[in-house]
Symmetry: C2
Subunit: 158 residues, 2 copies
DNA sequence: CTTGAAAACTTGTGTTC
DNA sequence: GAACACAAGTTTTCAAG
């Protein structure tokens, strides 16, 4: 992927509704050229989609938590992600290295709803859980630096 | 916030570039009415913004990790989020309950870049770190259920 | 990648309930 | 106060060079 594509991705990561006209101005390309590139980035899966960034407090899901899970029976086939997919309170599921096997990010309405969710997780995936409650979120959803922008903390020093 | 607003938020969380025309069709309102509602949701901060969902493998940041941090000196003033904000590899920073004080989500290019980032985190915020590397991500960025849609795992059973 | 033109979308105004 | 209809100005989209 080259410079202009990276620029386009960076711009859309920052403002997912930016118009092709503005993208064209920012990149110095014609509108049609940007349009073509964006469609190609979408088709190649570099851009997976677009989403509104929602204030969870405002939509009745003010409680966020990270739930680490570990299989009760380590010998059983591990299909936890599939077994948990129907629980819409789970925003993300990451397979991780370390003591536990997955980290889930969940959003719920209240402590009671969290308790309820944890029971459903344990029952659905036959796992034990360890929960870390989020108290506040200083920042989140920061757009990635796609190289070409000023970089911090990830240069290689060959 | 009432039914139609919740519907609009859910639709935009699922497809952040959906047109007002389509939102109007989905909600049964006129185009102008939806337009007005979306602008109000943005102004009230219910919708914080819009972002492209990016494939991090494709943009040269294939390594994701969760970094839990703990102050070296628990008595010192806690301004870790501010001190870390310049590190663009940090996508999110959550203050959490538990043994550690923050959980960071980071995206880097390689194990070496992660090592480098961890040193910068420790130096910038005067903290110790505990890192959990993400091996794979079965799902992420799932849109929230804004109530009114079929719900799973977060009902209240009064 | 560019031009160019048709179709669709955004966004304001004025009106109605 | 909220929704609708209409219309001007933009933007999206696609074909052809």
């Amino acid at each position: 992927m080259e410079e202009i594509d990276r620029r386009i991705v960076a711009l859309l990561a920052h403002d997912g509704r930016m118009s092709f006209t503005d993208l064209a101005r920012e990149t110095g390309l014609s509108v049609s050229a940007v349009h073509q590139r964006v469609r190609r980035l979408e088709k190649r899966g570099v851009i997976r989609g677009y989403a509104a960034i929602v204030n969870h407090d405002a939509i009745g899901l003010p409680l966020t938590a990270f739930v680490s899970i570990k299989p009760i029976d380590p010998a059983a086939p591990d299909d936890a992600p599939d077994r948990l997919a129907h629980l819409t309170a789970i925003e993300a599921c990451h397979s991780v290295a370390g003591d536990e096997s997955y980290i889930l990010k969940v959003r719920v309405a209240s402590p009671v709803a969290l308790e309820d969710l944890l029971q459903q997780i344990r029952a659905s995936a036959h796992v034990s859980t360890r929960t870390t409650v989020v108290l506040s979120t200083p920042y989140e959803h920061r757009a990635p630096v796609v190289a070409g922008e000023p970089v911090s903390g990830q240069e290689s020093h060959d």
